[in-house]
Symmetry: C2
Subunit: 406 residues, 2 copies
C-alpha cells in the first residue's frame, strides 16, 4: 500500500524423530529430509529431535550450498535436538534450558535426559531483524492423566518470558517447534496470550495439508495408532507462530503440511508432519504494539487457569519430597540400628553372633542403597518444588499486573 | 547541560554469607543488614547468598516500609541465594540458570547445589527503564590451580550473552554481584568487553572505603586469613557495573565500601564488604551505542584468551568422561563374570561352592555401586563436555564477527 517492497520468507519446521538406535529407518529419513530441503530451498529451517550430532553434521555438509548458515544447540546428556539452517547469516545465538523437564527415573519417557530448551538465533534480512526461536516441550504420554502438565506449563511460561525479554529489539519474532500441546490447551493459550504470537495455521490465507492442520496423524506409518484412537483426524502439536513487534506487519500467505508420506516416496520424513509457512513481511507506517494479547480480561483467566494447574503440580511435588525424605530417614534409622547391633556384638554385650553375617550385610547394603536413592530423589523433588513455587509466584505477579492495568 | 533533570540512584550490593547452620552469627548479621538498609534507604538493594527463604521473609517483613517491592529468585536444591529489594515497582523478572556450575561430588565446595544463576528485574523510574541484574558466579578455591576457571568462564559468557539479549529495550543496565573474579581476570574483561558495562569503582568521581576497592579483606574477622596471604590488601570480587544503552548517560558520583566492621558495631555484615554506588542518570541528546566495547581489536584478544581456557577445560572434561566411562565398563564386566560364575555353580559345572558367599555378595554389591556411580559421573561429564563445546563454538562465532566487522 505504501510502496514498500514485501519480503517473502519461506519457513520449514519439523520434528525429525531421529533417535539413534531407536527411530525406525532414521538414516534413510535424514537423507530424505536433506534432499528435500536442498531441492525446496527454504529461507529458514527449524528442526527438532536431531539428537545425533553426526546427523546434524551430515545435514550441514549436504545443505552447505543452499543454507550456508546453521546452528546446533547443545544441552543435557543427549542434547537439545534443536538446530537451525538459514539462507541468511546468523548474527547471534542464545540457549535457555527449561528449569523443569520430567523425572530422571522415568527412563521409559527419557525427556529428562534431553535437556529440553529453547534456542534463539538472530537474523537480519534486508535490514529487518528477526528473532527466530526453535523449541521442543515435554511430551504428553497420557492425556487423561497427564502427570507432566505442570512441567509443560512451567516450560510454556519460561518460553513466553524468554521470548518477551529477548525480543524487544526485534522487528519480527518467529517461533517454530513441537510444543506437545493441542491448540486449545491452556499452555498454548498462555504462550500466545502473554507474547502476542499468532498461529500461522489460523491466520493463513491458503492452507494445504492434513485436515485441521494436524501434524501427528493416523495415516503416518510411524505413529502409534492406539495413542491417536480418541483423535481420528490426528492432533496438531507442531506450530509456526509469529508476530511483528515494531512497525512491521507479518501475514501468512500459505501454510502447508506433509500428509503422511514424503512427496514421491513410500515413507514419511518423520512420525510428525512437517509444517511449511510462506510469510509476507512489510513495513507499515504506524507501529503496532502487540506486546500483550488483545483480549486482556481473557488473558487473566488463562493465567489463573495455568496457575491452578501449576499449584496442583506443586502439591504433588511437595508430597513426593515428603515421602522420599521420610524414606531416607527410615533407611538411616535402619542403618543406625544395625550399627548399634554390630557394635554391641563387638563389645561382647550379646552372647555370640545374633544374625547370620550374610543377611546382616545384605540388609546393610540394602539400607545404604535406599538411603542414597531416597536422598537423591528428595533433592530432586526439592528443586521441583522450588521451580513450581517460583513459577506460581511469577504467574501471580503477572495476574496482578493484568488486573492493575486492564 | 540540556536542562533535563538528573535522576539520582543509590544502589547497595552485598554477598550476605547467610548459610544456615554454617555461617557464623548469621541471624545477628541478617538483623544488622536489615536495620542498616532500613536506616539508609537505598533505592535498590542487590543481595547474594541469602540461602534461606526464611531470612528473605524476615528481611522483607522488616523492609516492607522503605522497600515495598522485592523478589527472591528460586533455583537449584538450596536456592540461587539472590534477591532484590526496591523502592520502585518491579515490573517483570526472569531467571537464567548457568549451564555449568562445578561438580556435584565436590561436596566440600557445594557450589553445584546452589543452582548459580543470574536474576533480572525490570524497573521503571521517571519513565527510564532499568534492567537490573544480580548474580553470583562459581567461587575460586585455589587461584594457582583453578579447576573451576572454565566453568566460571562459561558463566561469565552466558551472563554477558543473557544481558545483551535481554537488555535491548532498556535505557540503563545495572549489574551487581559477587563475580568471584579479580578486576584483571579474563572473565571480567570478557563480560565488560562483550556487554560494554563499566566498572563503578573505576569510574567513580569520589571513592571511600577499602584500598583498591577490595571487598574481601584480611581486616574482616570472618575472612580466612591464609587464603588472602598473597594479597595483603585483600581482593576485589564484588562489583557494581552499569551502562546506558540508549540516549542516556550514567555517571558514578560516589562509590563506597564497608571496611571490615559494620558502622558502629563490633562485627561485619558479612565476610564480604558491601559496595554502595550513587549513580546520576540523565537524558542526553544523542544516542550513544555502546553495545560492544570501544576497543574491539583488544576484545578479540580477550575472546581468544577465554576460548583457550574453555578449550583447556573441555579437554579435561573429555578425559573425565572417558575414564568414568571405562570404569563403568570394567564394573559391568566384573558383574557379568560374577553372574557367569554363579550360574556355573547353579548348573553344577563347578564342584561345590568356589567362593565364600559373603565375599561373593560383597564384591557384587561393590561392583553395582561402582557401576552406578561411574555411570552417573559419565553422564555428568557428558553434559559438561557438551556445554564447554557449545561455549567454545559461540566464542569462535563471536571472534569471527569481531574480525569481519572491525
Amino acid at each position: 500500500m505504501e510502496g514498500e517492497p514485501t519480503l517473502q520468507l519461506r519457513v520449514f519446521d519439523l520434528n525429525c524423530w531421529a533417535i539413534r538406535y531407536l527411530s525406525k529407518r532414521r538414516q534413510e529419513r535424514v537423507r530424505l529430509i536433506g534432499d528435500m530441503l536442498r531441492q525446496e530451498g527454504f529461507d529458514l529451517v527449524l528442526l527438532q529431535e536431531v539428537w545425533s550430532e553426526r546427523d546434524y553434521s551430515d545435514l550441514k555438509a549436504k545443505l552447505g550450498g543452499c543454507y550456508p548458515f546453521s546452528h546446533y544447540f547443545r544441552s543435557g546428556v543427549i542434547g537439545s535436538g534443536l538446530c537451525v539452517f538459514s539462507r541468511f547469516p546468523i548474527l547471534d545465538t542464545l540457549l535457555y534450558q527449561y528449569s523443569l523437564n520430567g523425572y530422571p527415573y522415568m527412563l521409559q519417557h527419557g525427556d529428562w535426559f534431553c535437556g529440553k530448551s529453547v534456542g534463539l538465533v538472530v537474523i537480519k534480512i534486508s535490514g529487518i531483524v528477526f528473532n527466530v526461536y526453535v523449541t521442543h516441550l515435554h511430551a504428553e504420554y497420557c492425556r487423561e492423566k497427564d502427570a507432566y502438565l505442570p512441567h509443560r506449563l512451567v516450560q510454556a511460561w519460561e518460553l513466553a518470558q524468554f521470548i518477551r525479554h529477548t525480543s524487544k529489539a526485534a522487528d519480527v519474532v518467529l517461533l517454530g517447534g513441537d510444543l506437545n500441546m493441542h491448540p486449545e490447551d491452556v499452555g498454548i493459550r498462555l504462550l500466545r496470550g502473554w507474547t502476542g504470537l499468532r498461529d500461522a495455521f489460523a491466520e493463513a490465507t491458503r492452507f494445504e495439508g492434513c485436515e485441521d492442520g494436524c501434524t501427528l496423524i493416523p495415516n503416518n506409518c510411524f505413529t502409534v495408532k492406539t495413542e491417536l484412537l480418541p483423535f481420528p483426524l490426528g492432533i496438531r502439536i507442531d506450530y509456526i507462530l509469529y508476530k511483528a513487534v515494531s512497525s512491521f506487519t507479518v501475514k501468512c500467505e500459505e501454510l502447508k503440511t506433509t500428509m503422511g508420506t514424503a512427496p514421491g516416496m513410500d515413507i514419511p520424513f518423520s512420525d510428525h508432519e512437517a509444517v511449511m509457512a510462506t510469510l509476507h513481511i512489510r513495513r507499515q507506517g504506524q507501529a503496532a504494539d502487540s506486546n500483550l494479547g488483545t483480549a486482556e480480561p481473557m488473558l487473566a483467566d488463562v493465567v489463573t487457569e495455568a496457575r491452578t494447574e501449576v499449584g496442583v503440580g506443586l502439591r504433588a511435588a511437595q508430597r513426593q519430597r515428603y515421602s522420599t525424605g521420610r524414606m531416607a530417614v527410615l533407611a538411616l534409622l535402619l542403618l543406625l540400628l544395625q550399627a548399634a547391633a554390630a557394635l554391641g556384638t563387638l563389645a561382647g554385650l550379646a552372647a555370640g553372633q545374633p544374625f547370620p553375617k550374610l543377611s546382616f550385610s545384605l540388609l546393610a547394603f540394602f539400607a545404604i542403597g535406599i538411603l542414597l536413592l531416597a536422598t537423591g530423589l528428595h533433592l530432586f523433588h526439592t528443586i521441583e518444588v522450588k521451580m513450581l513455587q517460583g513459577t506460581e509466584e511469577q504467574l501471580r505477579m503477572a495476574l496482578r499486573a493484568l488486573q492493575e492495568h486492564p
